[in-house]
Amino acid sequence: MENYQEIIESGRLEQYALGELDPAAQAEVEALARRYPEVRQELDDLLAGLGVYAEAHAMTPPAGMRERVLGRVFADIKNAAPAAPIVPAAEAPTMRVSASNPHVASTVAPVATPATRSNGWAIAASVALLLSLVGNALLYSSWQKTSNDLAVALNEQTRFANTTQVMERRLSTTQEQLHILRSPQEYKMVALAGTPAHPTAQARVMYNKVSHRVYLDVAQLPPLPPGKQYQLWALDNGKPVDAGVLTATTTAGEDMQQMKDIASAQAFAMTVEPTGGSAGPTLNTMTVVGNI
């Protein structure tokens, strides 16, 4: 077979990165990447390089676009949602069975009519047909009930699986948060106290200097004016570094939030910024601050 050097030199990885390969050739490259770590590495580098190039063209979308686009996305998602997960109802098979019944009758009947030579046979045939029809009807109704029950059971099962998934996610988040709170040597608690303008504001940051993880837990924050969002900053040698914006649930103190990783900091502070966050802090909106 080919060795990894030949694969790397073949130019196929570049074509893959640029999206020029058909699905079969794509799958082939993916299989090679799984087999040779060197190919995987090269492919990752190429994809990452192209990613950096793409991001170098990043443009902040015009003001107002966030609400418009997200609004329409959520509307679209909600419209699509009820249609998707419904388990197919039993209508299709029901139709087939009820349509076949008259056919059974009409094909049996002509056979019975020419057999006038013997009334006995005709009566027997009629009785047989009648019994068969009654039997069919009974079987059909019991089948229909079973199939309805099955649809209900499948629906229940899907709903249950969804609930389990949500619960598992909540559990793992809770466990993670518990771990953070119970590991004072791993996570340093940084109390953020309200500035003179907002004396009742209070929050805390859990900061891991080794893994650079930052978690935020809000106790109380003043309500935000519309179009604004709280943003956390790490102060490193006096220089503010963006640590991410707070989601609505975090701001309300309902949940802890993992913020952006911070390599080094001596203090954390929070300001009020336009939705989506700012590149630099608006200092006169500083709400809470605390030293590590």
């Binding site: 074509q15 170098a56 443009m59 963006d242 914006v245 993992q258 966050g277 590149a279």
Partner: protein, 186 residues
């Protein structure tokens, strides 16, 4: 919003976002928007070259990402690669569907040439990876080829025709350019 390129944000943070999207958590979509929209919008806008259409394509891309997130395979690459590809393909479909292709071919080329001479656009975020820095890494001929292939939706042979170059030259330039870009990450 971050100094860190999206392609190398910690895999754990990425995995957490993916699993929240999979669990149909709408706040995850908002967070996704806040983190990725500027990068995706930049790529889309660069391809469709019209802000209103770029907005439509971004919206389409987000809906598609929401519905297709189950099929994202982190073993095949980073989330950013996947979402950029979705956005890029939708944007390219858009310009193809409006029969934009023929008229914009030359325009696309002019545009990529002027882009090399001009400074970074106004909307460019200085705290981000500098477009200027990237430009310095690539010679103009390489950049021209990459722009046609990546933002123009051209295949290598179409790019060769467009630039009046032998296919071999286009392939070499594309490969060298991608290798230079890959080195930026190492």
């Amino acid at each position: 919003m971050s100094d860190e390129p999206l392609i190398s944000i910690p895999t754990a943070a990425e995995a957490a976002l993916v699993s929240r999207l999979r669990a149909r958590d709408e706040t995850a979509m908002t967070e996704f928007y806040d983190r990725y929209s500027a990068a995706l919008y930049g790529v889309i806008n660069r391809i469709v070259k019209a802000e209103d259409e770029a907005e439509d394509v971004l919206q389409e891309a987000l809906v598609k990402i929401w519905h297709a997130i189950e099929s994202y395979d982190s073993g095949k690459g980073r989330l950013f690669t996947w979402v950029v590809n979705i956005s890029r393909n939708l944007a390219i479909d858009k310009i193809r569907s409006r029969q934009h292709r023929v008229s914009s071919r030359t325009q696309g080329l002019d545009d990529s040439l002027t882009a090399q001479r001009q400074a970074a656009p106004e909307t460019f975020r200085p705290e981000h990876l500098g477009l200027q820095d990237i430009t310095k890494q690539l010679v103009p001929e390489q950049r021209q080829v990459i722009d046609l292939l990546y933002f123009g939706g051209f295949t290598q042979s179409e790019a060769a025709e467009e630039l009046n170059l032998p296919l071999g030259t286009v392939k070499t330039r594309a490969r060298t350019a991608l290798k230079v870009l890959a080195k930026l990450i190492r």
